[in-house]
Symmetry: C2
Subunit: 197 residues, 2 copies
């Protein structure tokens, strides 16, 4: 016993910040509480970070990278746009890295630190969707609106899963419902076009 208690790195703090963010929102990213959870004091923190905002910004940066770019990269190779959309949503809906992060961020959209990152991510995702729907043959403006509608449904689903899992049980761990959702999302733009590529 008497484990040596390893010393912390910058990344440890960021990880902790992300979980705190997912659980309790921006205000939960507080130095003192995090320090307690990591079993150190603020002395440690202020060596690794300039300030609390510094930490928050770093965490957001990580999310912006991981939560968007990496996912998009993984489905970009799919040539069939419908399949690309299906794959995208499946990943996005089943692999929420730190569950509840998204909703927590959307929550604090007015936070001066969160807003820029959130805007960039949203814009990027909407663009990606618009392109996919355009590739699928929708006229440009319709593709755009369809992208927004679809993305709304995605956001709402994750939001619902977090806000009321006991009420909307379908949102958590129900493969059939998930399939239904994904098909709804994709079919929205499909209409009466052929589905057998």
């Amino acid at each position: 016993m008497a484990v040596p208690k390893p010393r912390l790195t910058r990344t440890d703090w960021i990880t902790a910040a992300l979980t705190a963010l997912a659980e309790g929102g921006v205000s939960a990213v507080a130095v003192d509480p995090l320090a307690k959870r990591l079993d150190v004091t603020r002395g440690s923190f202020y060596w690794h970070f300039k300030s609390r905002d510094d930490l928050l910004l770093s965490a957001l940066e990580w999310w912006e990278q991981e939560g968007t770019a990496s996912v998009i990269d993984r489905v970009g190779h799919l040539t069939d746009p419908w399949e690309r959309l299906r794959a995208l949503f499946h990943i996005a809906l089943t692999e929420d890295p730190t569950d509840g992060l998204e909703p927590a961020l959307v929550a604090h959209a007015d936070d001066p630190l969160v807003a820029p990152a959130l805007h960039r991510v949203t814009a990027r995702r909407l663009d990606f969707l618009t392109v996919a729907y355009t590739d699928a043959g929708l006229p440009p403006d319709r593709a755009r609106v369809q992208a927004v509608v679809t993305y709304s449904a995605y956001i709402g689903w994750t939001e619902l899963r977090r806000a009321a899992p006991t009420v909307a049980t379908e949102t958590v761990d129900d493969p059939a419902a998930l399939e239904y959702l994904i098909e709804s999302l994709v079919q929205g733009g499909q209409d009466k076009q052929d589905k057998s590529s």
Copy 2:
């Protein structure tokens, strides 16, 4: 000049709390700031309310009433389920009483004070939607999933409107996009049934 400065009532505080809630979330419902905004001191507040939680609870109660029951009442008379759904969404999407309230609440879903109210509201709305889709002829289980999907899209849309209005401009003041959304929501369960009733 020297306007008499009317004294405040319990409702004044609740209204202020609701706007603060919509703007800055649960943590923005703080006695001192609200007092400043209302141009009084905390002395006033603690006469009308037992505590800060008391205020928050009262505000939530108001929302639960106004944001659900009243809307549902207004469309309950419509016999055609499709029309009922259309009317419901139209009201819900255009008349958000204090805009941004919903998202702010969903945000703090883990808050011990917010959670119960949020659960009740969500359950009630999902039930209403499920009934509507059932009335429309969908098999019960499918009606339920459709309700969840539809409600997700609604939530996401409001969320998007609040989180990134400059990015997803369609979500704010774009009648055409709104129509497209509503039709998407309704048609989700409609499929190939007739629409002309």
